[in-house]
């Protein structure tokens, strides 16, 4: 089912099509039936005239003639009776006219006669046409009226359906806005409405639950993690552990750190979903990038280059701005080898960050999905770019990725 047609148009189309076929067929039937009737009438009148002529001949009136309507000729031989159409000049009208002609051969008092009677059929043809045309006109008018009436009525009956459909199109899991559904006196529509209300409420409640659950889980995990962490910190200060045990214990610290990061990012994602970042300020991104580069340099990532010419500011939550820039830079750092340049530039509302890469990503379309990783090489949470995307979506910024000239390039378009 590739092509979708509007309901009203679809029902109207069937209606119109049926109407046309009906008008055509009925006109056809009417045409042939009337034609048959008329011809039958003409034939009857020809025969009756012929009979009168014959009777006249029998009664001795041998010169009974009225050309071209009645002609009587004496012939040598009898022939077969013929009924046919013929065109004859009509002096009264001064034109050629179509006649129906009956020729019979009779023997009266031993003399062979050919009796020819004719009847003009022109008038009957026009009569026929008038009947067919008026039939079509009546049918078309009736259909136009019915079509109009039907469409108006359809639209009225279906209106709750269309209104509810529009409402459903506006349905969004994340928005708090409630949907106003219209009731209908049509049982099925009323049922549909009730089902939609039930479904949307359920979906929303489930979504809220899930979100709350995610938040609760990450929150509840903090305390046990804190206990594990604290115990480990004490164990490494106890005497009597050996180097191997120490190595294993400190590697647990690394895992705890990962969990901690994961929790923090899940919480951030949930908070963005919950619209908890309402503190909108003018944030100078160029300054922010400079600050970030400064702090990353302490990690000896001295390969960050910022080349914006003008200061650029955007209005958003400063905390989210920090996360946005931070995640983009750390993503670039994670995926570029040491000492290779990472360049950042803001020009014409567009932030572009690029770093060297040997080959393009295998699945760039999944790049902003949660927990998507191109490689297992680094122990990332897989949420950094998902958060970046979420922040961009929140403020209507457009983020895109491309691989060009051996560089991974992320662009954020701040223009709205």
């Amino acid at each position: 089912m590739a092509k979708k047609t509007k309901l009203v148009w679809k029902t109207s189309k069937t209606f119109l099509l049926t109407g046309l076929i009906l008008a055509f067929l009925s006109s056809l039937v009417l045409y042939f039936y009337t034609k048959y009737l008329l011809e039958d009438e003409v034939r009857e009148s020809l025969y009756s005239t012929e009979l009168r002529v014959e009777n006249a001949l029998k009664s001795g009136n041998t010169h009974y003639e009225l050309p071209p309507i009645i002609e009587v000729n004496k012939v040598k031989r009898l022939s077969k009776e013929v009924i046919k159409d013929t065109i004859i000049y009509d002096p009264s009208e001064d034109e050629m006219e179509l006649f129906r002609e009956l020729s019979t051969f009779k023997t009266i008092d031993g003399i062979h006669y050919q009796i020819t009677v004719r009847n003009m059929v022109v008038e009957s043809k026009e009569f026929l046409l008038a009947i067919v045309i008026s039939n079509i006109v009546i049918l078309v008018l009736a259909f136009i009226f019915l079509f109009y009436f039907n469409t108006v009525r359809n639209l009225k009956i279906w209106s709750p359906f269309f209104k509810n459909l529009e409402q459903m199109k506006r349905f969004s899991l994340t928005s708090k806005e409630s949907l106003e559904f219209v009731d209908s006196d049509v049982l099925e529509f009323a049922e549909l409405k009730n089902e939609i209300v039930l479904l949307t409420d359920k979906v929303r409640a489930d979504y809220e639950n899930l979100k709350q659950f995610t938040e609760d889980v990450s929150h509840e995990m903090q305390t046990p993690l804190a206990i594990i962490q604290a115990k480990i910190d004490n164990i490494i200060n106890e005497h009597g552990i050996n180097v191997r045990q120490y190595e294993q214990i400190t590697s647990i610290q690394k895992d705890i750190k990962r969990l901690k990061q994961l929790n923090k990012r899940i919480t951030t994602l949930t908070k963005i979903d919950n619209n908890q970042f309402v503190n909108v300020e003018i944030v100078c991104l160029t300054d922010l990038i400079d600050d970030k580069i400064e702090s990353f340099k302490e990690l000896q990532f001295a390969n960050l280059i910022h080349t914006s010419k003008n200061r650029f500011s955007v209005s958003m939550d400063p905390y989210l701005a920090d996360i946005l820039i931070n995640n983009l830079i750390s993503n670039a750092i994670k995926h570029s080898k040491q000492r290779e340049e990472i360049t950042l530039v803001i020009k014409d509302n567009l932030l572009v960050i690029s770093n060297f890469g040997e080959k393009s990503l295998e699945h760039p379309e999944s790049l902003f999905f949660r927990f998507y990783r191109e490689s297992k090489a680094n122990q990332s949470t897989g949420l950094g770019l998902a958060i970046v995307k979420k922040i961009c979506d929140l403020y209507g910024f457009k983020i895109s990725y491309q691989f060009k000239e051996d560089h991974h390039i992320f662009s954020v378009d701040f223009s709205k």
Partner: protein, 224 residues
């Protein structure tokens, strides 16, 4: 020093006590809101470590009690909730610092020390260890009265070491203290070696040989 640890998770509470007692501090504990508010109102502590979500009440209310009773105790809030609003509310109500679970005990200890310095010396924030003297206000370290030039990270490292003197500090703990969340960008901890070795060299030339290696990859700031 005398500390009150108001934390309803007994395991965490006891781990904190164990860590802090090593320096000969007195640690009292409170396992619920009522115990904590009672102890906070009656006794005097140098630092109170306060869980914001105590089973029977909010740590924020205890801050209000401390304010009402005009207690001088420094307060460090520990919370499972990493929310800016909570943090700001706690600091507004007079808390000195805020730390999110999970945290390293060394980190907590270093924060406690910072709070203590601010409270004790009324602006003259001085930290001492044998011949080492650190002015935390001007961020300068002296050995036998002679100023030594340290980078920002080396300075932070030295303060962290002295705050947690005698304890084994793993690379992970140090990395997290120095670089926070960005420390997960480190593929290996070579950067830490660089900073620690530089600090160790600068101190050794002045005769202060306190940074020792422990278990091959950890560090300990300790007297022989």
């Amino acid at each position: 020093m005398k500390y009150l640890i108001a934390e309803d998770e007994i395991d965490l509470q006891q781990s904190i006590v164990t860590y802090l007692k090593r320096d000969g501090n007195i640690c009292e504990v409170a396992s619920d809101y009522w115990e904590a508010s009672e102890k906070a109102a009656i006794y005097d502590y140098d630092v109170i470590i306060l869980d914001i979500n105590l089973v029977t009440g909010s740590g924020l209310d205890i801050l209000k009690i401390l304010k009402k009773e005009k207690k001088k105790a420094g307060v460090i809030i520990i919370s499972a909730n990493n929310s800016l609003a909570d943090k700001l509310e706690g600091l507004d109500l007079g808390a000195d610092d805020y730390i999110t679970k999970p945290f390293h005990l060394a980190e907590l200890n270093s924060r406690i020390n910072a709070v203590l310095r601010r409270g004790k010396f009324d602006g003259d924030e001085i930290m001492e260890f044998n011949e080492i003297r650190i002015d935390t206000k001007s961020r300068t370290a002296y050995i036998d009265g002679k100023a030594i030039s340290l980078t920002r990270k080396e300075y932070d490292l030295l303060v962290f070491f002295i705050s947690n003197k005698g304890r084994v500090l793993s690379k992970e703990i140090i990395a997290e203290h120095l670089w926070g969340d960005n420390s997960d960008l480190l593929d290996n901890f070579d950067f830490i070696y660089v900073h620690i070795n530089n600090l160790r060299k600068k101190m050794t030339t002045e005769g202060a040989k306190y940074i020792k290696t422990a278990y091959g990859s950890g560090y300990q700031f300790i007297e022989d």
